[in-house]
Amino acid sequence: MEALGKYFLFLGKLLVNRESFGTYVKLVIDECMAIGINSIFLVSLVSFFMGAVTTIQTAYNLVSPLIPDYVISLVVRDMTILELAPTIIGVIYAGKVGSSMASGLGTMRISEQIDALEVMGINSTSYLVLPKLLGSLFMYPLLVILAGLLSIVGGYLAGQLTGVITPTEYVYGIRFEFNPYMVTFAMIKSFVFAFLVATISSFKGYYTTGGAVEVGKASTSAVTQSVIAILTADYLLAQLLLK
């Protein structure tokens, strides 16, 4: 409970005693590059294979001749948009970006760089963490959209290469009874997950004490707690928004 209270106080400090708007513009752009551009390759790779494997495994499980083949791509579409793109990519995002945020801030803490900012009269929380949070909120939803698209493309190519579904049926299944609210739901999830990963990882890194070993521990803890938060939020959002 003490850690939770400290976390909320930490969030409060993000918004008080900030520097000028101009100071943050470059920092946010830098964070967008670090968070977004550097994650594109991994996210693309995982998403593509995620879609391909989902297609093959769904085809393997749908053995009844009564079920049409386009159901395979329909399942791929729904799984991708509702769960795989926002949540699985969220877990990967926590591992890649969250650990980097925690270790970066942890290193700054133990090498007194954060103290140096404070001594200068700069609110180190807002100066260091707010750009990470904004960068995360801008870039993670874009990564989720990319992941969703590549997952569906991956499924299409896997279906064609293995012959489990024809391209026409795949496209028909993708478009069949499409509910645009699923995309809205995925975007809401992506904003929530981006917030959780950025703030939890920054919190763990910012309050690191000790030396190099503790930085490693903070980084590991940041990933673990971010993933737990993502999965809990995933369940709660599904309960709240899919009725």
Binding site: E118, V119, M120, I122
Partner: protein
Amino acid sequence: MIKIENIHKSFQGKTILNGISGVFEQGKPNLIIGASGTGKSVLLKCIVGLIAPDEGHIYYGDKEFTNASRDTKTEIRREIGMLFQGGALFDSKTVEENVMFPLDVLTKMPPEEKIDRVNFCLKRVGLEGQNKKMPSEISGGMQKRVGIARAIVNNSHFLFCDEPNSGLDPQTSILIDDLILEITEEFNITTLVVTHDMNSVLGIGSKIMFLYEGIKCWEGTKDEITDSGVTEFDDFVFANKVMQRLR
């Protein structure tokens, strides 16, 4: 001038600072000395506001710092420059960007003026032409000098140095000490140096405060250290072989 009154600080029931008072004068280096674990760095962190004291008052000139509003604290902190034990340079920034950082964030100075000021400060600490190097590409002594340049770039009125000679060879230590002394006198700033290096004490100790187990045990100048009459202080001073010979 900085004045501290009756500073107390404890961590988890253990008293670290026990009623420290004193005045640190302008235009001369003020040293806080003592063995490891006596509370020197904690006192320094209390003075700059990185740690809140449990009791007591700190005054920067005539401004009270301890219980000041956030805005007043920010205003005072913007007159502070600090040299950290490890330099605390920003790894991802070049030497020039590190020194320029306070100007970038805290002022609206035009870019050309900022470059001029940075070059002036780098020249002042003997690092002209090193602008584009990264902190990892320069030696420990140079990092300390970049730290000093960053501390004075914003025309700070107060300079704090936490163990400025740690990890440096004796010759570089003397260079850093001399630089601190020169800058203090040249810009007439209030400088506070935390150290346990006797060379620094003998070199720049215009005013010395000795801490022992969280208590101010002795106060004086470098010329008075040999006849303090305080056993704890004598034990500290004459622990050094060179000092023993001098005795």
